[in-house]
Amino acid sequence: MTANALRRQSFAGLPAGSGGALPALTLVGLFFIVPVVALLLRSVTDPEPGLQNYAALFGSGTYVRVFFNTFLVAAVVTAVTILVAFPVAWMLAIMPPALGSIVFGIIILSMWTNLLTRTYAWMVLLQRTGVINRALMGLGVIHEPLPLINNLTGVTIGMVYIMLPFMILPLVGSLRAIDPMTLRAAALCGASPLQAFRRILLPLSLPGIAAGGLMVFVMSLGYFVTPALLGGTSNMMLAEMIAQTVQSLLNWGLGSAAAFVLLAVTMALYAIQLRLVGAKRLGGGL
């Protein structure tokens, strides 16, 4: 028997090579797909069949405000993350590896450190009597402590902090994929650094920016921990609202409807993301 024939060997009746996926498929099917579908069904059956949960969701100013807030925060976080991450990724893509590995080490350390630990640190840093306010007052920049926590500012700072590695790492990859010779060619063609940036470097890194940005946006939309701890009650985000509706108000129907909206938006953006980078490169930071 040739090696090629071996490759085509299959388990009884199953398509070639699919058998290994069975345990994973069973696990995900039984404990992921079934519960999620059951939850979504609940949004149109609890407390009685009908669309009243969605009507309540989109009819109430409070909930519409939550939607608006969620998208606003996600958009702001994504924009700031891209602006901060791009120069860093650029530098990391070209700097000598010995120096770069220090920065990479810091990025990995921050990424691997417990999420609650990081959020806790920002709670302490940003509070009224926290280091940042004291330092600014000490420098005479401000005279009253700035409200940095329990509002959008706090959420943005905390979220950007958490999202940065997810933007920087894939972006380094896509910047490294650009041949430096291309930029040399642009310079010899007469392009000033600004022209070379605008016409060559930026367009060539745009797919990486779009893919990373979309990932950060999607993650931010459904983020729970950081907004819940650093945000205020007046600008609650969707994930926290879903958790509260179910856990405190025990309103499963409404919570499920909100969960469905979040899921639908996330999956739609995920589909675009897959188009953009292909399933293989998803999770490129790992």
Binding site: Q9, V36, A38, S110, W112, T119, Y120, Y161, F224, L282
Partner: protein, 266 residues
């Protein structure tokens, strides 16, 4: 020239300065929390008026913290083992299989990573309430294995893609059974991927907060749930001590990873 480190001119200084600032930004909270955990101020004043180990003593004297840490470790270890085993089998199918819908299957198995955790959390919570697994270790492990699975599949599948299948075929032609060839040739070759998978899936469970908040019962609490509860109550320096220990653990894990990778890649 924009991608030539040596020819950037003033731009290089600007980029390097900015990168240093961002690196400092990323490092700041981690360093800060470790410093505060040794500070004597109950209100987390900075710089601390004095240095002390009392928050660590308080932490280690509290059996609730110790219990939570042990519970977390147990659940994370089990979830990691399951995720790696199931992920390994699945990766062979995803990379080597020749069947329609392979890409779809891949997308499906990676979905738990993309779906907002809060949606999965309330879904599995409701499901487990119905079948009596809510608040049990088994329920925890199942939920965390699902969340960890993508983190196991990605590195293993990547390693497997980089492994030349004809080496395995050569072993089979030499007389090894397909199973022997996989166990003795392929698995050792992709061990870095398997190792990364183990680390990532352990961390995915160890750090998981959202599902844990729903699944926890008064008798079954993981470390993140315990921290979450403390944070909601007040900003006690004991949390800083616990956090510092977690930072220490992260650093240790990073060093072990780096060393092992270096050894394994020889």
């Amino acid at each position: 020239m924009l991608l030539d480190y040596d020819r950037l001119g003033w731009l290089r200084a600007a980029l390097a300065g900015f990168t240093a600032l961002v690196a400092a930004f990323l490092l700041l909270p981690v360093v800060f929390i470790v410093l505060l955990s040794f500070g004597s101020s109950r209100w987390l004043a900075f710089p601390p008026p004095g240095w002390t180990l009392k928050w660590y003593q308080e932490l280690l004297a509290d059996p609730a913290w110790i219990d939570a840490a042990l519970t977390s470790a147990k659940i994370a270890a089990m979830a990691a083992i399951l995720a790696v085993l199931i992920g390994l089998l699945a990766s062979f199918s995803l990379v080597r299989g020749e069947f329609r819908g392979r890409q779809l299957l891949r997308g499906l198995l990676l979905t738990p990573m993309v779906l907002p955790v809060v949606v999965f959390a309330i879904a599995i919570y409701a499901f487990f309430l119905r079948i009596g697994l809510a608040g049990t270790t088994t329920g925890f492990v199942i939920a965390h294995t699902i969340l960890a699975l993508p983190f196991a599949i990605i590195p293993i599948a990547t390693a497997l893609e980089g492994f030349d299948k004809s080496i395995e075929d050569a072993a089979i032609v030499c007389g090894a059974s397909p199973l022997q060839a996989r166990l003795r040739i392929t698995l050792p070759s992709i061990r870095i991927g398997i190792f990364s998978a183990a680390i990532f899936s352990f961390l995915a469970s160890w750090d998981e907060v959202v599902v844990a908040i729903f699944m926890a019962s008064p008798t079954l609490q993981t470390l993140p749930v315990k921290i979450w509860g403390s944070l909601r109550a007040d900003l006690s320096p004991v949390v800083a001590a616990a956090s510092s220990l977690l930072v220490g653990l992260t650093l240790a894990l990073m060093i072990v990873t780096a060393l092992l990778r270096r050894r394994l890649s020889r």
